[in-house]
């Protein structure tokens, strides 16, 4: 527990004192470490400690959100006073808050902790990064720069509200990135790979450095041999894992009540309607064991769930946070998330993926006369209001007459969410989840995307003309 229950009670009482019908406090104490190596030398070793609280009050669906980095009783009561006095909406009244003495602890559900990041010798981590640098340079003499990096975060939270929720949680995120740059015949290319874990520090022991280096160096070699992608509308096979970013961008954001409630999503009002081919089932699941987006509780203290969004092409559910539930009447799905106490929570994705089908990737390629096989995807973005999305392709191959004929680079895929969903005509059986970082109104959060390989029968590929 970061703040004693007595102080939490007083803070919530103060926040409600102007007649609000709901008050919540989200307290955070986080540790973030970053270590990196550049030009074969240790480059960065930093530690950052985040420390503060966000206090939220509701008058119906109107929301007041106040933050402070002063966690003393005085600091919290001042912040609660700011929240209470922000607007006058109702008659002032006193409401007694009496939360449980001990908050419910959630952090054994998904995570069994080994050593904390600060308990592992930084020098050991730097040696690990230096070894990645050395292996990458030894593997290929064309490698001109290597930047391996470790990011580690431990977030302790305490969330309490006027409806009786009082819970604590602890989340750990470990990430390793390896960025390799190589040159050949005057051309420079770069390829980045990563590994993520929400489990314990055993992550470092379980990592396979050779596989990580191979993936990065092979990726950059492929790009050095690649021509520019052809341009125009064509069929595209998007492989499993991070390929799921297409669903995340094209549809996922439009299924969050943050967009649905104000009717700012193309999916508003379409529950029960067909939005895709019958081969398409899509799920947002906060309970996947070890999933990058898994949580015991969301950032509103609600237990996370598995939410089937689309089943056999029919829209079944949205992702619903507390305020979204108030605005739409749908049940909470444990999807209230935020980057830190500096952000009010909104409905967000957790581990979002397309369920496996029955097709085979190799058959999809052999059946294709002409198109692109997008093996590894990059980032992207969407406008939920118009459904228009874009995302870049990191590693791709041109397919001709059922065979991959050469690597291509510089492809960006653009389209419209619902239109593209309707063009997913094949779904393979090789489901895989991949980790990423999702940015939206409540900040940057860890979220996994996933899918088996899919065939989009027609999508605009932006390449060179």
């Amino acid at each position: 527990m970061i703040v004693p229950v007595l102080v939490v009670n007083r803070t919530l009482e103060k926040a409600l004192s102007n007649g609000a019908d709901f008050a919540e406090i989200f307290i955070e104490d986080s540790y973030s470490g970053k270590l990196s190596v550049l030009s074969s030398q240790p480059k960065v070793v930093t530690v950052a400690r985040l420390h503060g609280a966000g206090i939220r009050v509701h008058y119906g669906t109107e929301e007041i959100y106040v933050t402070t980095s002063d966690l003393t009783e005085k600091g919290l009561l001042d912040a609660a006073e700011r929240a209470a006095s922000a607007i006058s909406r109702a008659e002032a009244k006193l409401k007694k808050i009496d939360l449980s003495e001990e908050p419910v602890q959630n952090y054994d559900a998904f995570q069994i902790y080994g050593k904390m990041p600060w308990e592992i010798d930084h020098a050991e981590k730097l040696r690990y990064l230096l070894s990645l640098d050395k292996q990458a340079r030894m593997k290929n003499s064309q490698v001109t720069q290597v930047e391996p990096m470790i990011l580690e975060k431990v977030q302790r939270i305490q969330v309490a509200n006027s409806q009786g929720i009082h819970k604590t949680d602890q989340r750990t995120n470990y990430r390793i990135f390896l960025d390799v740059q190589a040159q050949d015949a005057g051309k420079t290319e770069t390829f980045a790979v990563n590994r993520f874990s929400t489990k314990n520090s055993q992550f470092y022991q379980e990592l396979d450095p050779t596989a990580l280096v191979d993936e990065a160096v092979n990726g950059v070699n492929t790009l050095l041999q690649a021509d520019y992608s052809p341009a125009g509308e064509m069929p595209v096979i998007i492989d499993n894992g991070f390929g799921g970013v297409i669903f995340h961008e094209a549809c996922g954001h439009g299924l969050e009540t943050t967009s649905v409630a104000p009717k700012a999503s193309v999916f508003t009002g379409k529950l029960g309607e067909r939005v895709g081919e019958s081969c398409l089932t899509a799920i947002d699941d906060g309970t996947v064991d070890g999933g990058w987006g898994s949580l015991s509780i969301d950032d509103e203290g609600n237990t996370t769930q598995k939410t089937v969004l689309i089943e056999n092409g029919i829209l079944k559910s949205y992702m619903v946070d507390q305020l979204g539930a108030k605005k739409t009447g749908y049940s909470i799905t444990g999807s209230g998330r935020r980057q830190s106490y500096k952000f009010a929570p909104t409905s967000r994705m957790r581990n979002t993926f397309i369920a496996p089908g029955t097709d085979k990737l190799e058959n999809m390629i052999s059946d294709l006369d002409y198109g692109i096989y997008a093996k590894t995807m990059g980032g992207g973005s969407v406008s939920p209001g118009t459904g228009e999305f874009n995302f870049s392709v990191k590693e791709a191959y041109l397919v001709e007459n059922g065979k991959t004929v050469k690597p291509v680079k510089g492809a960006t895929l653009i389209g419209k969410g619902i239109e593209t969903l309707g063009r997913i005509t094949k779904v393979a059986d090789n489901l895989k989840l991949s980790a990423g970082t999702c940015g939206s109104v409540s900040g940057m959060i860890p979220a996994a995307v996933g899918q088996p390989a899919i065939l989009v029968s027609k999508i605009l590929v932006g390449g060179r003309v």
Partner: protein
């Protein structure tokens, strides 16, 4: 409880005991944000946060650590984290140093116009509400305003030097934004505009709303574009993003880390003679204004590109020493680390009007929006493939709205093809002020 000054004096003593030196910067920030949706208050946000960054020089290496807890014990822990970090880094790197001999910063008029704090909250609420209501009432095809809002901030940055000196500056500002969604049948298009001003009374809500609504409405008629090569005129606001990416390659940090496309290009022609970019930290009307950088180095006006040739790299203390070039005072604090970044970038306009540039070729693609620069532009190679939208101008015909296409090319090759600049710079208070840019030819992938 000790004051920050007393705590810092104590840390300096502790540092001396470890044969080290310490400097601390503290940023304190207060902000207010207001937004309405469907004519009801969507969010009232009020933030008060603080962040201390402790930098410890030990031997030749510099360790850094940050905390939001300004208590004596937290700062002591932060010092220990930074000291431990310093001991892990290269002790032989003699380019690290801490700030000494800090000068009182020059006063920049209008950087802080804090009297707007006294404006009644009801007036600010009215402004925020109008950002939505005016848009909804602008045209019946405006079906929704997914995002709109008003925000303001007050910020104080203080640096305590290793010698015990202290310098401070305060700044304030306000911004407003509106995204209007226009709908006709099954087609929806959005238009987004934002503006930054030092004083909220300078925000022209009507202009902002009109521009965002007009953009959304005009795009409702957008048609697919034929794949091919086109001359393009990039509207000033979108052009500012391209210039920002180009100038990021003049960062000495990027050069040192072998990530710069311009590392060997000082004095070389990368664009026509008329292309000139100046970094001006004293323009208080723009977002990037500051009297000194994150390391306490006094700000200065720097000519970055003149006659189409890069003139210098942006530096801070470390890279200035390492590369034996002048310190241009461009240190910034980014996620608790010192980095190098421009302040305000000013691209000098020319005399041509936008209309004149649009008829320079038989057909010109006028781009009002270029998206996904973060994911669709490879910073290491300069290759890009970016979604865009705008209007196709063909001589003798009315301009046609076009969208759902992708422009592709290479950043350096693009600026080699710069043909002209308009006389119209963006007026959104962004830290990049730029006219429309006309490029001779670009590859466009469309739906027909």
């Amino acid at each position: 409880m000790k004051s920050l000054e007393e705590t810092f004096d104590h840390l300096r003593q502790v540092a001396t005991n470890h044969q080290a030196q310490v400097e601390v910067s503290v940023q304190q920030r207060e902000s207010l944000s207001l937004s309405f949706q469907l004519q009801k208050l969507k969010k009232y946000g009020s933030d008060r946060t603080q962040l201390a960054t402790v930098r410890v020089l030990c031997g030749g290496s510099l360790g850094q650590s940050t905390t939001e807890d300004l208590s004596e014990s937290a700062l002591q822990q932060c010092f220990e984290d930074a000291l431990a970090a310093a001991k892990l880094l290269d002790q032989r790197d003699l380019n690290n140093s801490l700030s000494v001999g800090l000068q009182a910063p020059p006063k920049i008029d209008q950087l802080y116009t804090g009297d707007f704090k006294k404006i009644e909250i009801s007036e600010k609420m009215k402004l925020a509400q109008e950002l939505e209501s005016l848009a909804l009432g602008y045209n019946q095809k405006i079906s929704n305003v997914p995002h709109s809002g008003y925000s303001e901030f007050f910020s104080e940055y203080t640096l305590f030097s290793a010698n015990g000196e202290k310098v401070t500056y305060v700044s304030s500002g306000a911004s407003a934004y509106t995204m209007a969604l226009a709908k006709s049948g099954d087609v929806s298009k959005d238009g987004y505009k934002s503006v930054f001003r030092r004083d909220p009374r300078q925000i022209n809500v009507n202009k902002l709303v009109t521009e965002s609504c007009e953009l959304a409405l005009k795009m409702l008629d957008a048609k697919p574009l034929e794949t091919g090569k086109y001359p393009i005129l990039v509207m000033n606001e979108a052009a500012a993003d391209l210039v920002s990416v180009l100038v990021s390659h003049l960062s000495a940090k990027a050069v040192d880390e072998k990530n710069s496309l311009l590392k060997d290009k000082l004095g070389e022609k990368i664009a026509p003679n008329f292309f000139e970019v100046i970094d001006d930290p004293f323009r208080a009307d723009l977002m990037g204004c500051r009297p000194f950088d994150a390391e306490g180095t006094g700000s200065q006006r720097t000519v970055l590109i003149a006659g189409g040739k890069p003139q210098c790299f942006l530096t801070n203390r470390y890279y200035s020493k390492k590369m034996s070039i002048p310190n241009t005072g461009h240190a910034v604090l980014s996620s608790g680390e010192i980095s190098v970044s421009p302040t305000n970038l000013i691209v000098s306009p020319q005399t041509n009007t936008r209309e004149e540039l649009l008829v320079k070729y038989p057909r010109v693609l006028f781009l009002t929006d270029i998206g996904a620069i973060g994911s669709g532009l490879n910073q290491r190679t300069g290759d890009f493939s970016l979604p865009a939208s705008g209007f196709l101008y063909s001589r003798g015909e009315a301009p046609k709205a076009v969208d759902q296409f992708v422009i592709s090319g290479n950043l350096l090759e693009l600026f080699q093809q710069l043909e002209g600049l308009s006389n119209k710079v963006n007026d959104d208070g962004n830290s990049v002020q730029c006219p429309d840019l006309l490029f001779k030819e670009i590859s466009v992938a469309g739906l027909c």
